[in-house]
């Protein structure tokens, strides 16, 4: 296990931010810490990246103890935080070269790798502009590039796409997927189920400083019921007939039918209804959201 934490606790005054969190991440895999604001995601990341001391509990990252060997941990990791850690008044290129130099790459090597990353992240055109003129997406990309320039063994991404527009978000996801392909271990936090689903091998669901569920995206979705089609009927008679021909759960005048979300399945459902002379008043499809996960698992 390249990341291993046991019994992490942290409180600020009377406010318990983490109340005993265990987690472990296998080398080369992606773990997502999923939870709403205030769940303790950032605090967990800050402890694992040596920025905050836990009140109790132990953690090792890349084989080093975060409390006893913080310098060695820092040498093996990189952190991309929620607020972009870039100098607004330096250019993109200056920011990257600086971090390369701090990682003790030679001047030439730092410049060469800077050029590679600017290219890879599509920032070459903007490299000599000050970062304060960058868009949110460009900043985040630069931020990630700065984290990667040192070729860390473990990358921590704290809400990497919060506040980004959809196009930037998807570009960010592609960049992360590329990293995963190279075998980098990633621990990311997110509020978005979709993001965890897309990127993570395993998901830990964090709420009020506790882990309330863990597993693969599929297993979590299975726990909360997955996607469904909602069919609303005009009266109880039709609803009763429909429950006879379709698998689903009736609730008032609505029949909830589990679905895989494909058009083919929707066709099939509507065909079955028509063959039986049934006509729903309204049809809508419903995908599980983080809200559903939380309602299901924290209620």
């Amino acid at each position: 296990m390249i990341i291993e934490a046991i019994g992490l606790r942290k409180s600020y005054g009377a406010n318990d931010v983490l109340s005993g969190v265990d987690l472990s991440v296998e080398e080369g895999s992606v773990l997502a810490l999923l939870g709403p604001n205030g769940a303790g995601k950032t605090t967990a990341v800050r402890i694992l990246t040596t920025l905050t001391r836990p009140d109790s509990g132990t953690a090792t990252v890349a084989g080093y103890d975060v409390l006893r060997e913080p310098a060695r941990v820092r040498g093996a990791i990189s952190l991309t935080g929620q607020y972009s850690a870039v100098d607004e008044n330096q250019t993109g290129r200056e920011n990257l070269v600086m971090v390369g130099r701090l990682m003790h790459l030679g001047r030439r090597a730092a410049q060469r790798r800077t050029a590679e990353f600017l290219e890879q992240f599509g920032l070459t055109d903007a490299m000599d502009r000050r970062v304060k003129t960058y868009s949110g997406g460009m900043r985040r990309k630069l931020d990630l590039a700065m984290s990667l320039i040192a070729r860390p063994q473990v990358i921590f991404l704290d809400e990497p796409t919060t506040g980004l527009d959809p196009a930037s978000r998807s570009a960010m996801w592609d960049a992360i997927v590329d990293l995963v392909r190279d075998g980098t271990t990633i621990l990311l936090t997110t509020q978005y189920l979709e993001e965890a689903d897309r990127l993570a091998d395993r998901i830990l669901l964090l709420d009020h400083g506790r882990i309330v569920a863990s597993g693969t995206a599929d297993s979590l979705k299975a726990q909360i019921g997955g996607e469904r089609i909602e069919l609303r009927f005009a009266d109880d008679v039709q609803l009763l007939k429909a429950t006879g021909v379709l698998d689903g759960v009736a609730d008032e005048l609505v029949l909830n039918v589990p679905s895989d979300g494909t058009a083919a399945h929707l066709h099939h459902v509507l065909d079955v209804l028509r063959d039986n002379g049934l006509e729903p008043e309204r049809v809508s499809s419903h995908r599980p959201t983080l809200d559903d996960v939380f309602l299901a698992l924290t209620a």
Binding site: L51, L79, G81
Partner: protein
């Protein structure tokens, strides 16, 4: 620390100096204020108050050493604000999560502060010559004065960096560093301490600014030195040692919140 460790630490410090100097050069407001304010103060004292203050010499000759220290006070105060701003930025988390020496970041800020101060001091000296400042002193005197001023600026900048680290915000850094701006007014910078009420005279005589000013005055104008040179050196070195230890340990402490 191993040889390799020393090389790495120096390289980190050089990189951070590079960063801070570049950021300082681009922070036009701060740069402008740290040059313009002392110039305005000097004009104010020379042309407005000076006529009413009797120092036994040409007032402009009396006041310039004080203005030089006031300039460094402004410079240091803005350093506290720059450091506080940096400590609250996302960048500092990145710097802290990198395997670099904890003093490198602050060293960068201090060197940038000293460079900014050197520039504004040079401009103030040129302006003072235009306003009628007629210093004496040979090359050695000027070098000694510059050396003492440099030591004072370095010490004050480290102190300011420490204040910047503990300040919760840029505003509170500005408040904390207020006394740096205030101390010269309670010294022999603008009026002879003998003209102050008797209860204030000891404050004026036993604070770091007065011996530094008296030493510079003696070197550049030829007033009697007495033992102010030694006292000034002792104050500055003591302040420097205290401030470096304070700032770096505060920085490390803040690291492990």
């Amino acid at each position: 620390m191993s040889h390799q460790g020393v090389v790495a630490a120096c390289s980190d410090a050089a990189t951070m100096i590079d960063r801070s100097v570049r950021l300082a050069r681009r922070n036009v407001d701060t740069l402008f204020a740290s040059i313009l304010l002392p110039l305005l103060m000097m004009a104010l004292f020379v042309y407005v108050f000076g006529g009413a203050i009797n120092t036994g010499t040409e007032y402009v000759n009396y006041v310039v050493p004080g203005i030089l220290l006031l300039t460094t006070g402004y410079g240091a105060a803005s350093t506290a604000m720059v450091v506080a701003d940096d400590m609250n930025s996302g960048m500092i988390d990145r710097l802290r999560s990198l395997p670099i020496h904890s003093f490198a970041v602050l060293t960068g800020h201090v060197v940038a502060s000293v460079a900014r101060n050197a520039a504004s001091t040079a401009i103030v000296i040129v302006a003072s010559l235009a306003m009628g400042f007629r210093p004496g002193g040979g090359v050695v005197d000027w070098l000694a004065a510059a050396g003492l001023l440099l030591l004072y600026v370095v010490a004050l900048s480290w102190l300011a960096a420490g204040l910047g680290v503990i300040a919760k915000s840029v505003e509170s850094a500005s408040t904390l560093s207020f006394f740096m701006l205030f101390l010269p007014y309670l010294s022999s910078a603008f009026v002879p301490p003998e003209s102050m009420p008797s209860w204030l005279q000891p404050v004026s005589e036993h604070q770091p600014v007065t011996p530094v000013i008296e030493t510079i005055r003696s070197l550049l104008i030829g007033t009697p030195m007495g033992n102010s040179g030694r006292i000034a050196l002792a104050w500055c070195s003591g302040l420097l040692l205290f401030s470096v230890v304070l700032a770096t340990s505060l920085y490390r402490r803040r690291n492990s919140r």
